[in-house]
Subunit: 775 residues, 2 copies
């Protein structure tokens, strides 16, 4: 099968570009707000920032200066010795398909700027190892996907409920247990407090759920905590919410996997020693699966959640039936030693641990656009259902645990104990454990969608490295996925996969994000007083914010020493880092802006260009003087500002050196050859050879009596720069490229060392002329 | 103190270079022979190969072609926008000395080519870490040394004897013991064989000594085994000798240090557990000391040898006195278990082990030029003295050991036992142990002079990486010293500093070198039959060669399984590697030669250039047609053969990109800008900006739907190359250089990745235009 074709296409991208769109979907410079179609949707074009009017005017100004001194653009094009469209290519029959046809000409040649599209052959690396790596990648991750494959799926409520609530509902697997694990420190008496504290948490769930119903209405295009807080409270609160979320997602992966592995180990105790290995294996699976780009929706993803709901329901009903047998009297628990006296601190810590059952509650509000129309209404219904199920399951498990007298143990999870007591060790037990493990895995997978998206949004606001904007060839945010996997694996392994010791780090991040989000909504309603029911909405959000803040402070204070300090510190570090990153990008942007400093931009330049044509000459003012900006700053924007001098370090007069000299001379710019000599005798000899050659180019020999090579060269070039700071010095280095690694030992590595050192010098351009040894 | 000065100098290097000297001392292409002044003397100029007549003619031919198409050389010089001599520099008073004056103009400006010499400030790296590293180096190794400091010392015989014989005489410390350690396997009866075997070894010493006397006469300029064998027997035997020597030197370091540490541990048994640490510490000291450039001669180096001679003499006399007490009857030894029956194999193994006492015997013949005149006569006298001392000390120790009934032990060396028995544990005992340790350290140090020199000679013949030619700033062969230290440390640590287990690897290498050297001398005398006494010399050398060969085979066979196989294998590997290296350099030389392929060089070009002037125009033939060599091979030697096209990958239109475009346009060569776009929309947007700028340069946009960046770019450039294989494609890359390491994460690294990948493409020149972010 030939690898290339001239693809007939009806795509409309040959239309004249509309110049400049202020509200482009790929907008990278504007602060994101809720009015955009889907705030978290990946946009490959986001890497190219949209230019604002001022930037465009500067661009036109520079272009105008070029046109005063430069040859006619058409001359430049006619001077091209190649056909850039690759159109004059021999046809498929004439040539072997493996060498050519890596590009597809999308349209005919009549248009002035026919675009070229790569075929997959053009993405193939040219080295053998590169191709092998690509092949391995293909096998593991599948073929690359076109942007057009990025379909936004719309979910039915019956699918959306399990997909979006997996994170929240799965918390029932560890939340109640985490609470009991704190209470049990106070002995048998402590366990009695489980029901009141659980009631408080259930109320909290209700309040936060109602609060998020307001967010859904206000942000029908998706209102993540980062967006809501950033929009309404400002940059730092937004970053605090983002930091909380990032920590939350890392912890969700670690805790969900720890809890899921605990469910498996409870059922198969012989796997107990392999906890860490199993967990890391699951993280690797999630990494590969998400790098491939796992689809979020579908029956496959809905099943575990429904199975888990069924499992918990069975557990609760089975427990109630058993309890009915002895008239709902709690079974006697073995008398437990009192390790810590029952006080307010213990109760608050139990409350904070139990509230980890609320993590993931915000998922629905993030994903409103993924619902079928009317989106916000369906999202609200789904959220209501989720909250109802969450409260019912959470309360059910707590009540049954109380009736059953279950006590947290490091060997077996509470859910497993309850299942054993209700159903023995039969198939129902294994179904319950399997469903629990599956829903926890699904919850961990949810983080793999959300973590990279938060980083994407931050990067779009220049608050995270721009590499998180990059969409991999499988349409996934590969960089974010890798970072999440590494962090989660490190934390999971660091805590030896122990759920109980992970919990203290958990609640802090989520509830900070909740608080910021709800507080942002309060400000939102105050700003939008024209909307119906704004007072009621504001009240609901205010209650949610207040309660979330209480949990955040409680979790942060009561668990500070047992791990929450890590989370608090991390939030601080993330916020400070994000601000520094933003500052760096801002400074870089200023330094990279055309026409640095404030120059007056004539008004006529601010007019948008006539589409599809050169600027009308009549519209130009008669004369714009070329600015006098020739200096040692790296601000040359015009060819005539560049004053060239080529410096060619020459070691000996072999073919590689001669080629380099010929190349330097062919550029028709002044050339100075430079030879570093260890002794006067060697210098004389070299000059003799230079004269034998004919002394065609100016040569300077520097005697370096201590045989140093790089430093004298660098310092010589620096001295030239000091003589004429306006010069652009092009250092042209011959470099011998060998075929085999061991041959590298045979040649010196002055060229790479020089290149590394020269990189630091101002106004120095580094040119390498490779000479390839064939054998 | 100002860092620079205009140094008035009377050096004669301003003379017109004499063009081309066939037998230059820095000759790198000729096979070295014994006629050169000092074959092992380091020559910094050896890095620049001497051109032969044919190469010079090719150079003149290329120069002639340049002169037909190129501007007048003077025009090029006048076009220079800077003063390359740095002569128009402001004076010291006008400028801060820290920034300028890194170079010294050695002569006035009236000469056409005034040379520049670096001051030490010009060798100072420009980065802070670089300077700190240099400072640490200075503290550890001292200031850099000028080549003129490389004085060749001439030694008196009284100094030469101890300095050159340290290696040989110190072998007495382990040779006899190694022999006894084998014999003791046969129990008490075995030890009785020590004297006959010792006598055989003493005869061997005599024969080899007499043989080397012939070498001294024949190679008055220094006749190392590598040189003698290579000269007379050919390349592979020379390499075998070199390989044997290299292994010998590594083993000398390891064995001498092991034995020296054993002498120390015998005196201070509490250090027994620190054997490896002490030995590695000594290797580090030797490394640093030799990197500093330890002077070889002087009282400091003579003392240990004389002390050791005195110590052994005292031991022997003391032993004889004691033995006289009981009428020279051997003392009764404790009855020893017979581990192995006494047979021919055991005797031969004992012989091979004992002959390690002969290592270092070749030192005098290597260093003939270091003697005072008449060199060869003084060297012969010294050699005779050394052999006499060696035989006396070797025999003395063996006799005393026999009379004393000393038995090798892992706790205490034989010499220490004898000293204890003769002098108790008083100061004389400690003097003997100290002298032994000191002479062994000195012997190890000898290898640090010889190992790098053999590598230097091999590298000069293109049989080792050329980096071993390099003379460090302390006038030492730093690379060879480092390699020796690493190898010796690895072997020493690998064998846990145990002398006995190191011995089997030892003898093989030395005796191979001996054999090759003596056999080479046999051929030498056959070739030089005109010389007096050639028959007698040949006979002596033949006997030496035969005996050495017998020891080599004996050592190789009897100890093959106990370690000699490592030495044999290493010799093979070294020889094969050296041949492959030579082949690589030969192929590289062919590919790097001017005018590749055989072209006819007109006779007039072969005439040497008139010194100090351009070639006389009248001497030229009227016309030499420019050869038609424009192809895709990288063989351009003339500017007009270079057909340029600059390709500028552009990501966005910021200042860095604009500077790069301006730079590309300033070279007055065709330019093609290239943008890789992830989507059609982004492509349209970019083209819109390009038009707003004015469309000054041809632009091609490649849509890469899978968001690959590097591969499409590389393949596009490859496609251009396929269109016009004669083009030299200059890929001009903007690269943002940040100030702090963490800022690197903020920017993409496409430029370095592209550079790495582009390096492999033929006829592609890579230019980096750095843009320095100030903050």
């Amino acid at each position: 099968m030939p690898k290339y074709q001239r693809k007939p296409t009806s795509r409309s991208h040959l239309r004249v570009p509309s110049g400049h769109r202020r509200r482009d979907s790929g907008d990278g410079t504007q602060i994101i707000n809720g009015d955009e179609p889907y705030a978290g949707a990946p946009q490959p074009a986001a890497m190219l920032p949209v230019l604002d009017d001022r930037q465009l005017a500067a661009l036109r100004g520079v272009g105008h200066e070029w046109s005063q001194v430069c040859a006619d653009p058409d001359e430049w094009r006619e001077a091209l010795p190649v056909d850039p469209c690759l159109g004059r290519y021999p046809s498929a029959d004439e040539l072997s398909p493996s060498r050519f046809g890596r590009f597809v000409a999308v349209s005919g040649k009549d248009d002035q700027l026919p675009p070229i599209e790569t075929t997959s052959a053009a993405e193939s690396p040219r080295t053998r190892t590169g191709r092998a790596g690509r092949q391995a990648r293909r096998v593991l991750l599948g073929p690359p996907l076109d942007v057009s494959a990025m379909a936004v799926e719309r979910m039915r409520k019956l699918i959306a409920l399990p997909v979006l609530s997996a994170d929240a509902l799965s918390s029932v697997a560890y939340g109640p247990e985490a609470m009991l694990a704190v209470l049990v420190l106070a002995g048998t008496a402590g366990l009695a407090y489980s029901l009141p504290i659980g009631a408080a948490i259930a109320f909290l769930m209700l309040a936060v759920g109602v609060s998020y119903r307001q967010t859904i209405r206000a942000y029908p295009h998706g209102g993540g905590s980062y967006i809501v807080a950033g929009d309404n409270l400002g940059r730092v609160p937004g970053l605090m919410a983002a930091a909380g979320l990032l920590i939350d997602y890392v912890m969700t992966v670690a805790v969900s996997i720890a809890s899921g592995v605990a469910a498996i180990v409870s059922a198969v105790p012989s796997l107990g020693s392999q906890t860490v290995a199993i967990g890391l294996g699951v993280i690797v699976l999630l990494l590969v699966g998400n790098m491939r780009g796992v689809r979020q929706a579908g029956v496959l993803f809905a099943a575990p959640t429904y199975a888990f709901i069924a499992a918990v329901a069975a557990l609760v009903i089975g427990g109630l039936v058993r309890a009915a047998g002895h008239h709902f009297h709690p079974e006697s628990t073995p008398h437990l030693a009192v390790i810590q006296s029952l006080g307010l601190v213990l109760v608050l810590r139990a409350f904070a641990s139990g509230s980890t059952a609320m993590t993931g509650i915000e998922a629905v509000s993030n994903a409103v656009p993924a619902f079928r129309p009317v989106e916000w209404r369906n999202a609200r219904v789904t959220l209501t259902w989720m909250i109802g199920l969450l409260i019912a399951m959470f309360a059910g498990v707590l009540v049954i645990a109380r009736l059953d007298g279950a006590v947290p143990s490091s060997k077996e999870t509470v859910l497993s104990q309850l299942a054993h007591d209700a159903f023995g060790s039969g198939p129902v037990y294994f179904f319950i454990q399997g469903a629990t493990a599956a829903v926890l895995l699904l919850a961990a997978n949810t983080s793999y969608n959300d973590f990279p998206r938060v980083l994407f949004l931050m990067a779009r606001d220049f608050q995270a490295p721009r590499s998180f904007l990059r969409i991999g060839d499988r349409l996934t945010f590969s960089n974010g996925i890798i970072v999440l996997s590494v962090l989660a694996a490190a934390i999971y392994a660091g805590f030896r996969g122990n759920t109980e010791s992970l919990i203290p780090l958990y609640a802090v991040g989520v509830f900070l994000a909740f608080t910021m989000s709800q507080a942002g909504m309060v400000v939102h309603w105050r700003r939008h007083r024209e909307q119906a029911h704004w007072r009621r909405s504001l009240a609901f959000n205010a209650v949610g914010a207040a309660l979330s803040a209480i949990v955040f402070v409680t979790a942060g204070v009561t668990k500070f020493t047992s791990g929450a300090w890590v989370a608090v510190l991390s939030i601080g570090v993330i916020v400070v880092t994000a601000l520094r990153i933003r500052r760096h990008y801002e400074l870089a942007r200023q330094q990279l802006a055309l026409h640095p400093g404030s120059i007056d931009i004539p008004a006529w330049l601010c007019a948008p260009a006539r589409s599809g044509s050169q600027m009308n000459a009549a519209a130009r003012p008669p004369e714009v003087p070329t600015p006098e900006r020739i200096s040692d700053a790296e601000t040359e924007e015009l060819p005539q500002e560049v004053v060239n001098l080529s410096v060619v370090p020459v070691e000996g007069l072999d073919l590689a050196a001669m080629r380099t000299l010929a190349y330097a001379a062919s550029l028709c710019q002044p050339v100075l050859a430079l030879h570093i000599s260890p002794t006067d005798e060697e210098a004389d000899r070299f000059r003799g050879y230079w004269k034998a050659w004919g002394n065609h180019l100016p040569l300077e020999v520097v005697v370096s009596p201590h045989r140093a090579l790089v430093a004298p060269l660098i310092n010589y070039i620096w001295s030239l720069h000091r003589q004429r700071p306006d010069l652009t010095l092009t250092v042209i280095l011959p470099e011998i490229v060998v075929r085999h690694w061991w041959q590298r030992l045979m040649h010196n590595h002055v060229a790479p060392r020089l290149r590394r050192t020269l990189r630091g010098l101002p106004k120095v351009v580094i040119t390498t002329v490779p000479f390839h040894l064939a054998r």
